[in-house]
Structures are given as C-alpha cells and as structure tokens.
Symmetry: D2
Subunit: 443 residues, 4 copies
Amino acid sequence: LTSSSGELFGALFVPADAAAAVGDRAWLVAMLEFEAALAGAEAEAGVIPADAASAIAAACDPDRFDAAELGRAGHKAANPAAPLVTALTEAVGEEAGAYVHWGATSQDVLDSAAMLVAKRSLAGLDGELAACADACAKLAGENRETVMVARTLLQQALPTTFGCKAAGWLVALLEARRRLAAIPLPVQLGGAAGTLAALGDEGPRVLELLSKRLELDQPLMPWHTARSGVAELGSALALAAGCLAKIALDVKLLAQTEVGEAAEASSGGSSTMPQKRNPTGSIVTLACWRRVRAEAAILLEAMAQEHERAAGAWQSEWEALSNALAYTGGAAAAGREMLEGLEVDAERMRSNLDAGGGQVMAESVSLALARDLGRGEAQRLVAEASRRALESGQPLREELLADEQVAARLAPEQLDAALDPSGYLGATDLFVDRALEAWKASR
Amino acid sequence: LTSSSGELFGALFVPADAAAAVGDRAWLVAMLEFEAALAGAEAEAGVIPADAASAIAAACDPDRFDAAELGRAGHKAANPAAPLVTALTEAVGEEAGAYVHWGATSQDVLDSAAMLVAKRSLAGLDGELAACADACAKLAGENRETVMVARTLLQQALPTTFGCKAAGWLVALLEARRRLAAIPLPVQLGGAAGTLAALGDEGPRVLELLSKRLELDQPLMPWHTARSGVAELGSALALAAGCLAKIALDVKLLAQTEVGEAAEASSGGSSTMPQKRNPTGSIVTLACWRRVRAEAAILLEAMAQEHERAAGAWQSEWEALSNALAYTGGAAAAGREMLEGLEVDAERMRSNLDAGGGQVMAESVSLALARDLGRGEAQRLVAEASRRALESGQPLREELLADEQVAARLAPEQLDAALDPSGYLGATDLFVDRALEAWKASR
Amino acid sequence: LTSSSGELFGALFVPADAAAAVGDRAWLVAMLEFEAALAGAEAEAGVIPADAASAIAAACDPDRFDAAELGRAGHKAANPAAPLVTALTEAVGEEAGAYVHWGATSQDVLDSAAMLVAKRSLAGLDGELAACADACAKLAGENRETVMVARTLLQQALPTTFGCKAAGWLVALLEARRRLAAIPLPVQLGGAAGTLAALGDEGPRVLELLSKRLELDQPLMPWHTARSGVAELGSALALAAGCLAKIALDVKLLAQTEVGEAAEASSGGSSTMPQKRNPTGSIVTLACWRRVRAEAAILLEAMAQEHERAAGAWQSEWEALSNALAYTGGAAAAGREMLEGLEVDAERMRSNLDAGGGQVMAESVSLALARDLGRGEAQRLVAEASRRALESGQPLREELLADEQVAARLAPEQLDAALDPSGYLGATDLFVDRALEAWKASR
Amino acid sequence: LTSSSGELFGALFVPADAAAAVGDRAWLVAMLEFEAALAGAEAEAGVIPADAASAIAAACDPDRFDAAELGRAGHKAANPAAPLVTALTEAVGEEAGAYVHWGATSQDVLDSAAMLVAKRSLAGLDGELAACADACAKLAGENRETVMVARTLLQQALPTTFGCKAAGWLVALLEARRRLAAIPLPVQLGGAAGTLAALGDEGPRVLELLSKRLELDQPLMPWHTARSGVAELGSALALAAGCLAKIALDVKLLAQTEVGEAAEASSGGSSTMPQKRNPTGSIVTLACWRRVRAEAAILLEAMAQEHERAAGAWQSEWEALSNALAYTGGAAAAGREMLEGLEVDAERMRSNLDAGGGQVMAESVSLALARDLGRGEAQRLVAEASRRALESGQPLREELLADEQVAARLAPEQLDAALDPSGYLGATDLFVDRALEAWKASR
C-alpha cells in the first residue's frame, strides 16, 4: 500500500485535468501516437509495408501498457522509451514487429511525445488564462470609477482606480497568452545520430509526413541537442505564471485584515478563527509559481547538451516540462477562481484612501501650487503642511488652509478640487480602454 | 585604495565594450537622456516652458555627475534616480530646475534607462551573435564532407559530418538572434502612481512623444509592476547564452586530449605543460552562461511586484539585467573567438571513427540485412558479431564475414558498402543546406 | 571614460567595507599572501632557498600589480592567477624568480585566496549579524508586553507580543551566525594534478606549514574538484540572508500605511509624498537576498567539476562567492540599520488588534467554553457569534453576551477575561526568555 | 483512467523505497502519528482526558484516510491538514473528537510530519550514501597503484592514481553524510499564532513531551515562519547530490568511447548499437541532481515568510522537500549501482597515459632540470622539446635526449626516471590513506 503518487499535495495545487494532461497516461498516449504516425508516414513514403503500419497502429493502444512498469524498466536505459519500444514490438508480433520504431531513436519518441503533451496541456492552459483575462476585463470595466489608493513601496502614494489596476493585470495576461501561442512545437525525428540515415533517401519526406500526421511543426533539422525550444517553453510558462503571481500578490495584500479592499469568494475560512478570509487562491497561485520557475531553471540549464545526445541534461527535462505545464495550469486555475470570485470593497477602498487625511493628495496640491510658486517652493510648502498634519493628526486640508502662502494662491474650492482624488486620476480611464481593446482583439 | 570594481574577474569574462554598455556611465547617460527627452516632450506638449526644456537638456551632461556618489546617496532612497534628480535639479538652477523630472517618478527614469541600456547592449550582442553564426556557417559549409562519429550519451554511435554538427549550432544561433530582436523595449512613464496624473490631460501625448524621442516602444500603459518584458529579456538572454554553451560544451569535449578532433586557436597553454591545449574560450563561455541563467532567474522571480511599485523585487532587477546583458555578451565574444579560430582535425575525426573497428556501422549493416531477415533477426546477428568483435578485438567486418548467415546475404563488396561511413550519412547534407539558407535569409 | 564598475547600484546595496572585502584589491592581496606564504613554507621545509623566499615575500606588494590588467590578461588563460604569477616572477627577478609559485598551480592560488577573502569578509559579516542580533534582543526584551496581533496568511489571527516576534527573528540570526562560523576554510595546495608531485617528499609538510602561515584549515587532501566547502559556504550565506529577509518582509508589512505598527528611522521619504515612510532598509535587504540566492545556486551547480580541474564550473565560482559574501553583507548592514532604528508603535499595534471587534479572541472564548460544551459545540457557537458580529459590525463581545448558551456558561467578567488579549499570550514570555538566553550564550 | 502519478519518469529516477518514504502514505502516516502523539502528550500533561487520547490514537489509522481525497479537499484551505483534522475528528466520534488536534494548528501537523518524513527518508539515504562511500573506499584501496593521467580543463596534465581519484570522491561523500546527520529535525507546535496559547500553562510541557514521543528535536520556540532548518536541509541534500554528481561526471567522462577507462557494469546497451556502454547510472545521478538543486532553491526562497504564517512560501515547501529527499535518494541509489559495479580498465588508463608520448611528464623533467638550470630555463628547454615532439610526433624522450643541454644534465637513466609516471605520484598514496582512515572512523 505504499504510494508515492503525490496526490496529497499534487491535487491541492493542480486540478485533475491539468494533471492528467501531463500524466503518465498522457505521455504513453503521445508516445504511442508517435509510433503509429511514424509507421503510417513510413508506409506512405514506401519505407515499410502498409500492412506493417496498420498492425503497428492497431497495437498502439495505451491500455496494453503499464506506465509504472515502463518507468522501472526504463531505469536501466535511463529512458522509458526503450522498454516501450520493446513492449510494442512484442505486442505487434513477429512479422510487423520488425518495423516498429523503424529508423527512429528513443529521443525521437520522447521529444515528439513531449511536444504533443505540451500542445494539449497548453490548450487547457490557454483556456484558463483566457478566463483569467475575461475576469480581469470584467473587473477593469466595472471598476473604472472605483477610486482607490495606489501604493508604492507599500506606502499610500496617490489615487488610482481599481479598474486601472485590473487593466494592468489584463494586459500582462494577454501578453502571456500571446507568448505561449507563438512557441513552435516541432516534431522530432533524426534516428540514432540525428542524420535520418536509417531511412535512406526518404528521411526528409518521412519527417514531413510525420509532422503533418502529428500536427506538429516541422523543424529545419533534428533538435536532439538543440534545446532552445524546450527551454523557451519553460520560460514562457514561468512568465505566464509570473503574471498570475503578480495578481495573487496584489490580491493577498488587498485582502489583509487591515486593508480589506478585496476578498476571495472561495477563501478558505478557519474553523477556529471565523473572522479570517484566507486568500487561498492567491496562496495556491503563488506556491505554483515558485515551482514553475524552478522547473524553468532546470530547462534553461538543460540547454548545454553533449554532442548528439546528452547524458543527464536531456533526461532532466521530462519531469521539468511536465511540472512546468501542470503547475502553470494550477496557478491559472487558482487564479481564475480567485479573479472570478473576487469581492471588491469599493467603500473600504475609499475609506482607506480618506484615512490618510488627504496626504495622498499632496502631489496634486503641490502641482496646483507649482505654476505660481515653482515646483521647489510648492513642494516645500506642501511638505511642511503634510508634516504638520502628520504630527497634529489634522487633515492636510486644515494645515494647508492655515498656511498663508497657500491660502494666498488657492481659494478653498480650488484647494478642495486639488484634494479630490477623483479629479486626480490622470489617464486611468484611457488605460482601461486600451486594455479592454487589446482584450477584445485577443478573443 | 580599496576597490570593489570587480575587474579582476569582470575583465576576464566580459570584453570592455560589453561591460561599458551596461556600466555606470551607460546608465547615467541613459538616465540623463530620459530627463532631457522628457523635458523636450513636455515642452512640445506645452506642459513646461520650452526654455526650461533647453536648460534641462543642457544640464544633462554625464560628466557633471558621479555615479559612485549617486550610488551611495541612493542607498537611503533605495534607488539611484532620486539623488540624480536632486543633483540635476541643482545643476539646472532655480528657475528651470522646477521643471526637472516633471510628472515623473524615479521608476520612470530607471526603467526607461534600463530599456535604453538594453537596446544598446543588445546591438553589440547581436553583432557578436551574428559573427558566431557566420563562423558556424563557414564551418558547416567547409565541413559538409568531414565525416566524424556522432556520439550519444558520450558513446560513439553512428557517423555524421562535422558540417552537420556546425549546422545545428548555426540554426540555434539564428533562433537566438530572432528571439532577442523580437522583444519589445518600451519606454516607461507613469508618474508616482502610474496614472500620469501630474501631467494633466497631456499625459498620453507626452508618453507618445517621449517614446519617439528615445526611440523606444510605446507601451499600452505604464508597466511599473508588470515586468514580463524585463523577465522575458532575461530569459531570451539565457536562451542565447544556452546556445553558445551547447557549442562550448561540444568544443571542449572535442578538444579533450583523447578525442583531439578540434582545438581552439587561442587556447591558453600552460607554462609547465606545453602539450595542453586548454579550451579557454569554451570555459569562459560556459562560466558566463551560468551567471546569465542566475540573473535570468532573478528577473523571473522579480515578476511578483507589489501594487504600484515593488519593495524589493524591482530593486533586484537593475544589476540582474546589467549582468545578464554583459555576460551574454561575454559568452558571445568568447564564443566568437572560439568559433572563428576553431581548428578542425578531419584526420583525427576519421581515425576516431575507424578506431572502433566498424562498430558504429552496425546499424547500417543491420539495415542492409533487415529487409531479408527482418529487423529482429538482422539486429540479433549483427549484435552477436559486434559482441564477438568487441571480445576478440577484431574489426566488425571480419566477424561479419565469418558469419554464414551474413555471408549468404551480403557479398563482401555489399558489406563494405554497408560499412562505409560516407555512405551512411543520411540527410546531413540537406540539413547543412537548410541551415545555410536560413543563415543567408537572416543577414 | 567608459566604466563598468557597477558602483551606481553596487554602492547602493553593499557598504564600502563589505565591497572592499571582496574587491579586486582584496583578492590581489590574498593571492600575494598565498605566494609569499608558500615560498616561506617551502623555505622552511627546505624545498627552496630561504633567500628566494625572502625575495618573493618582498615582491608580494599589491601596489605593484594592476587588477584590471591581470583580468584582461587572464582572459586567455581563463584565470587571473596565471598572469599574476608571470608578473610576480618578473618582479622578483631572475634568480629567485625561478622559485615563485614553486610546485603550485593557478587553482592553488585562487582557491586559497578565495578562502582568505571569505575569512575576512565573514568576520565583517559576523559583526553585522551580531549587531542585528543585539538589536533584536533589545526589541525582544523591551517589547515582552507589547501586545499585537499575530497574522497568519496575512489575516489577523490571535494576539501575540512584538517581543515574541523579535525573539523569533533573534533565534534565526543566532543560528545563521553559528552555521557560518562552523564552515571550514581550508587552504588549497595540490599542484598541477592535485598530487603535490612537484614538491617531492615534502608536499604534505609544505601543505601543513602553509595552512599554518595563512591561518586556514588543513584539508585531508586537495579539493580542486571537491567543491562542497565552497557550495556550503554559499548556502550558509543564503540561509543568513534568508533570516534577514524574513525580518525585512515582516518590517515592510508592518510599515504599510494601513498597518503602521513599525517604521524605519532611516526610511527614505519621497520629496513629493512626505507622508510616505518608505521601508528602504527592508527593500535593500530583500533585494540583496535575491542576489545571494542566485549566487548560492551558481555555487551549488558548480559542484560537478570534471576530473582534476573543471572547465567552466570552477571559473564560475569566483564572482559568485564574492557576490554572495558582499550582498549578504549588504543585507546584514541594511538589516542592522533597519533594526537599530526600528520605531515600534505599540499604540497602533493595540488599536489594530482592537479594531477587529474582538474577533481575534474567538479561539480564546471557544476554549473557555469548550470544557463545558465540547470543542465542536463551543466552536460552533463562537463561530456563529463571530459571523453575526462580522455582519452587524458589532463587537464580538456583544454578540456573545446576546447568546443564551454562552451567557449561561460565562459570566460577563469571565467573558471579558477570555476576550482580553493580554490574558491569551501563551508562552510568549518564555520564548523571549529562551531567545535572550541563547543570545547571551552566543556573545 | 487518467493518471498524473508520474511513475513513468518517477520510477526511472527514484527507487520504490525512496519514493515511498516521501509518498502520500508516508505523509499521512506521519500526520496521524503527530495527532496521536499530541493527544498522548496532552493527556500526560493533563490537558485532555486520557480516554480521549486513546480514542484518538486508535483512530489514527492511515487505512481510514484517502490521500488524494484530502489533497482535493485541501485545495480550498490551501493545505491538506485541515481536511485531515476534520476527517479524523469525525472518525474519532463525538465525545473524544472534541480533543482531536487540541491547541494545534494545521502547520503544526504538517511541519512535524515533514520532519518525521525527512527523518525516515534520511535514514534510507544515509544507507545509500554509506554504501557509496564503501564502494569508493574499495576502489581507492584497490587502485592505489593504478596509474592514470590526471586531466585538468579536460586536457591530460600529469599522472595520478585512480585510487587517489576515488579517495577524493570518498572524502566528499563522508562530508555529505556528516552534514546531513548534523541537521536538527525539530517538532513543530505553536498553535494558531505560535504562542501555545490554547494549551494554557501546559504549552511548553506538551511541546517537550511531544518531541520525546515523536523522537524529534525540541525547538527553542515554534518555527512557523523561521524556516532556516528546512532550507538548510534542502541545501545539505543538494550538497550530497552534488558530491554524487561530481563522481557521475567523472565516470561518464571516463566511460567515453575514446577514453574507455571505466564502464558501468549495469550500463544500458543499445539494441541497435551493441558497442555502446551507456553510462546510465551516471546519467540518472546527474538528472536527479539537477532536480535536487531546483528543489533546494525553492526551499531557500521560501525563507521569507510573512508574520506568523506565510501565504505562499510555506505551501511551496511540501513538494520541494519531498522531491529533494526522493531525488537525492535517486541520485544515491544510482550512484551506488554505478560505483559498486564500476569496471576499471587499468590497462587503458596506462595506455592513455602513454599515448601522449610522455608529454604529461614534462613537469617532472622540468623539475629534474630546474635545480641545475633554474626553473625558467628548465621550463623553456622542456617546453621546446615538447613542442618539437608534438610537431614531429616523436616521444618526448627522444627530443629531450637530442637536446644537448638536457643531455649534459640528465643521463638517460635519470631521464627515464623523470619520465616514469610511477615515480611522479606525489602524495597520492598518503591521500588514499587519509581518506580510508576517515572512512573507517565514519563507520
């Protein structure tokens, strides 16, 4: 009854579908698809008999093979494709069995399977990211006029809108989707030395036919030890997860008890502390993101591969790629839950903004005074009033009104205008527009 | 006389021009260009007086400022832009000084400067990468017919050509260049909260004018805490360095005393061991690559930034980006030296190939026999002959000739054809063609 | 006038002394000390003439050598020791020059110099860490009774004391110091192949004498490619920086405008936003920490070194170790500033605790009720009251008093006792005691 | 039939026992042991009734709980301990159920379980590392006199012995074991805020009793957000895996076809290329090592944890620690197989050494000449002879004999002595002795 399947934590971070998309069976299916498509392509090119290809295709049934057994058997060869080919050859039987895996090498199967697994996994991921983007677009559109304080270095700075914040999240998500969609997913076929020698003159044609059958890109040449595609995919996943992490970080900070401007609808409570609104979606997103970067680092490190097949680096990619895909999926799924259910407390946003006694409007007042006084003098006056206000606990307005130089230049209603956050929102509305346009264009 | 300038190691890894492109002065120049261009754009938009803009531009002379002093002063603000703005304001003088940095925030200066620094640094890097590609193209073209052994898992596998190996290097370098060239380098301008509030209605126009003046891309909105562009640049640099690392790894393995198929022209000798041909270019390339990945990891980690300005993550980017640029430059420069001077020993390649007594041609013989005997039986026969040859020390040819079943199916001249490496090179020539075409298209 | 010296950012993060301790001159001094001590040890062992040793020692004057020039010259050999030995030999002159570097290899100089540089750098670092610990001890002792809210998942949870929080910081710092102090710093001497062959029978004795002269540990055997010591040092630095990062993270969260429980005395203000109390010490600490981990990762990766001298991995260590030392120093210095000047706002701590209307005392009330009602029922009742209080905006006390079952079991004064944070502090006082005892024992 | 269990690759890299030691069931068992021991300790301290403790202990049967289900349920709380406590409480039943998890928090269970899992996993790992050390000791002892060439920067340098090389591996493994054994594994108990408040006055006593029952170390205070212990464990695992990686790198380089000095007994062959002796143990070791470092980096990054419970960082530790343990186990198991079955080809070592025509003895000859000629002149002469020999293809001996200045100083038998590798082994024998002594002391 021992188990190392990792569902105790795995299922916590990665939804079942994202996990299945990179799971043992998904890899097995992809490897068998490669073998069937290879045989088909080779038959089409006249390299092997059509009968053999049919027999092979028929035997490529994932239910016939046991992933765990292949894993154990793969230890000796340091890859699981070798035992799979052996088992498949046996399953096909004597005659046609001779044509199984014809002209291919273990890495051809595994690399092509990796691209198939990636392709399917990315489709699911893209759906989640699109849903995250939709949720951000909704938040941006609905909160154009939800004034809140912008925080720099975790200090209240100036007013902004929650719509503008969500627009920033949205733009980043759109870029992440675009980046992932642009990554080529090429088939792999090179044979033992990457020369296609075992396929005689038909090598290039088989490569082309195979790429069509598997609906993968056709590479200029085999990429057994030219791994920038795999590493780039890892980095793009880390970039996508990073966009989600930024959102999650903002949400968990907004959800702090003392801030209380947002809460996750699905936030996990605490049995003994019912007042808590734990930002569990953010937490899951952030934890997934950390793993994705670690996996991406493995993939970048794996680029230095020896000669025509690497001894260690290539073998480190399989789990790294699977995990990078799955945990970006986990981050996106948790991010979607978090965003779709985000409860925005506009009143609290406003009251937090107001709680500072107008200090965050100091720049606005400075600027209002600056044309008359010069920036330096204006800033000096406002800074002094601010400091007096901070000390006295008075609103900034009172201290400004009490200052003769200020009073001489700004009438109370001018001062109030300068102190009104809604009047000092700059281009936030335009930014929301631009983000929403980009979002519409992406759909 | 204390010094922390890091030239003892820095100058070893990074050429002077690549170092200067990200050095203190380059940053200072870029920051001052931002301030001058901002003032210019604001004057053009009618936000500040034209006279002020001229006075500011005149004061933006890097010789007036001391980077080390700004660094020390920047400790208190946790950024070096704050003291620069103070110093520049002073330099501009009372009247126009009030318009220095108008409506901008420290991060606007630093992020825009980062993009300028990156742009110039990338131009130099692209030149080095292009030279690396040229050298690979030369090697690929000249060595189309240089037969050598392909090595998988560091074991001799099958014949290939050195031209094909170099073609693989070339394709990867072209991809690296394309990837770097595609990364947007946007200007940054958002003001204290990323809303452009201090610029009134002219914010978006100033943003546009500024991006034109600095010849940087115009972003949809400020990206103070949307850092995927910076992180993507880091990853693309790591991918470029990774392509160079793959080449360097191959070269250092080929240059091993026992292999001796290649040597670096500039290889460092050893005073006490004159026989050594140390692959120092490869070594420098590989050491640089390790750093670039570390810096890229910092940039990926920096994506989770709080609210409207991060407290720690953003600040970690400056040196990480500079180093990633500089050490990719170092890897490329050392790679270029290594590739341009690479001494290829075609005779040794052939003798290493032959030294195995024809074992690497076993697959070729298997395939020659397979159509008659079926793959399984053919492989079995050849494997047995191989094993006998390995034990006896005889060439594989003799053991195959001694096998009745083989002899019955392959005449000696057929066997010799199957054992001839030049006749079992598959599509290597085509791959060289494709790589060279891609290279020509890239120029 | 180009410059790549990196002071613009370097001086911001790393104080001058910590930078100098790993700077070019520090390395140069250490390498020359090695050469002088080696000659001395060899003379003592009768391997070289005593006169030669004196002449060598006399020439080992750092002012005679130019680090930048050595760096450039070192590019060809892929290490800066080779040109230094050449220059030193020249400086010593014909006769005694023949005995310079006798029996040693470049890696002997650089590795030994690395240990000397580390030793001196660690001494400075330890002083900073000790000062951080002292500051934490002061905070812990003074704030034993400063009640504040404990936050879990960034939600208010239960009461604790600021003294207890500071005690936790303190214990971690003490462990970090202990860990760094325990790391061996061995001399390196093996000669070209790590066998000491060039020293004839006197190799082991020279090794012993050298380790004494340099006051470094004596290794069991040369460690040219056994790098766990270097990697362990990197990890220990990352662990130390991690302890500081935890404190910095807490401080920057406490310093948020909406929390306001702590502020850095040296916090950088903002010229345009005087209300901001930017946690710049925390920011510098956190940024430094990110770099230290990146450098530690380079050192861990560098453990796989080929045969008797590595081609790439070893060369990646020099800057990684220097930076890890310097930026841990930067983190510690900024941490010390932050801790020594930390302004603790006990009133705000209390008011934040009270602002939740007693919700954080729910567990306390649950427990008070649990013995009578069973934990489940008690929790249920309190959770309901909490929820009612959250909805109504009433203090929890009122909702509890209104609950008949509660009222039946807890008299108002019992309820008030259960709702008093000061009465529900558990072992915080004991933990402060234990931390302070460990601190005293460490001095 | 979907599956994400990861056995296809997992079983390839990690043996069943090492996987099981960190698997779902192992965690479940450990969490239940914590709950049982906590109840027992609390009963002993008089905090809960003895009957309740018995009932709880009886219910702590891992067969009653479903890890995957807990994982899925744990998504909402962002930890799997919360649903386990709920399920356990239900299993215990109404009365005693109220005392389940009394005074503890989810993190108490998970952190303590992590330490239990680590402890058991480390026991297995230590066994593998000890077996690796034993194998190295055997290789070192048996190959004291097996002369081979030392290689620096992958170039033949000077003679050494394989025994000395194995001694270096051994010393590193002993250090790795020592380092892992020294890491404290403390119990965790702090309750919701780390204050033990819910246990009244008995908190510290329960903590002490609990640590005894679980045979874990007793911490000074709860370490909910003081994570240096976990991070240190990760680093120590990476250091251990790094020692194995160094060995694996050497072995795969020695096993290269062109070097052929060692081969793995269990090396995976290739069906189509029977001549290959793939170093699969080395490959598995190296691939595992890359993962371990990635996991260790996650743990180091996780040190910055917010306040009294982290929102993201803590949650990233569970899988990182499990994987770091499992893949270090995988590296050690593959390393043991590799080392125990290592086939050392002493003849090939000697012939590779001789193949260089005596060039690797140049230093030896230089030194023999140096006393008469001075180091500079001696080196110059030998270097010239070496260069002539390299050009002519003659053995170095012939070129030296042909040099009048050399001939005048060294008689042919003196020259032969200087050219004999066995006479230029320095302290290799002593280093083997020291390593074996340390090994004996470690047993």
